[in-house]
Symmetry: C2
Subunit: 112 residues, 2 copies
DNA sequence: CAAACATATGAATATGTATTCAAGTGTTTA
DNA sequence: TAAACACTTGAATACATATTCATATGTTTG
């Protein structure tokens, strides 16, 4: 999804969506949570595996996953004792990649 | 930018980018700031115009714009007494639209 | 059923941050 | 230059929230 047409005053994003969008963005606004999301992007991964891979406490990972699940950004699936989490859909990945593109955008010479 | 290929363990997003990305996402994670960004998306707009349009105090808008400018999400341009702000590049718009697509994604029947 | 394992949860704390208010800087104009 | 206008900035406050620790829930296996 790249650039679209534009409406008169500002955007095609309806005002009612703003709180939902903000909630989702703030989910990704924490480094621990963003890393957790990245872990879940491509394939289901267990809580303990995430914790180990990111060197975070299991408790912390679980707390974050609860938020991410409530925000419908990840989906949980139980397999025996373990619970595997995976990203809910591909849009999250698109969002992250677009933002990465923004980061690597050449920034002109500004005077801060 | 849509979906890309995927690397073995998790993503093609390098670990060093995570803090930068998280900072940008948390910029968009506040409703006031997200609304301000939307105001600046398509054309330069003055601080007072934003404040009026969103019914926020000029001071608050200015505080937020300072953060957004520091994060290189908007660019400032002085025109006489007024200062006009505009989104730095198109990626921000893409990010928002991708996220809006996520919101409107049909969510299966889950048991929270 | 008891023990071991994996995850979830609640309370407590510490840190961050959105907002307001008052005052400051910069720009035009009378 | 003084006054009016547009914006910025700093301090203060109130509120949110990331993390930890201890404990609880759920699941398999002996």
């Amino acid at each position: 999804m790249t650039i679209k047409n534009q409406s008169p005053t500002h955007s095609l994003i309806s005002e009612e969506l703003v709180p939902q969008l903000a909630d989702l963005f703030s989910m990704m606004g924490d480094t621990s949570r963003l890393r957790i999301i990245l872990c879940c992007l491509h394939e289901p991964i267990s809580v303990s595996h995430i914790a180990e891979q990111l060197d975070l406490s299991q408790s912390l990972v679980s707390h974050h996953l609860r938020l991410l699940k409530a925000a419908r950004m990840v989906r949980a699936e139980r397999r025996g004792k373990q619970v595997f989490y995976v990203a809910a859909d591909q849009h999250v990945q698109c969002v992250i990649e677009d933002m990465a593109a923004h980061v690597s955008e050449p920034h002109g010479v500004e005077d801060d």
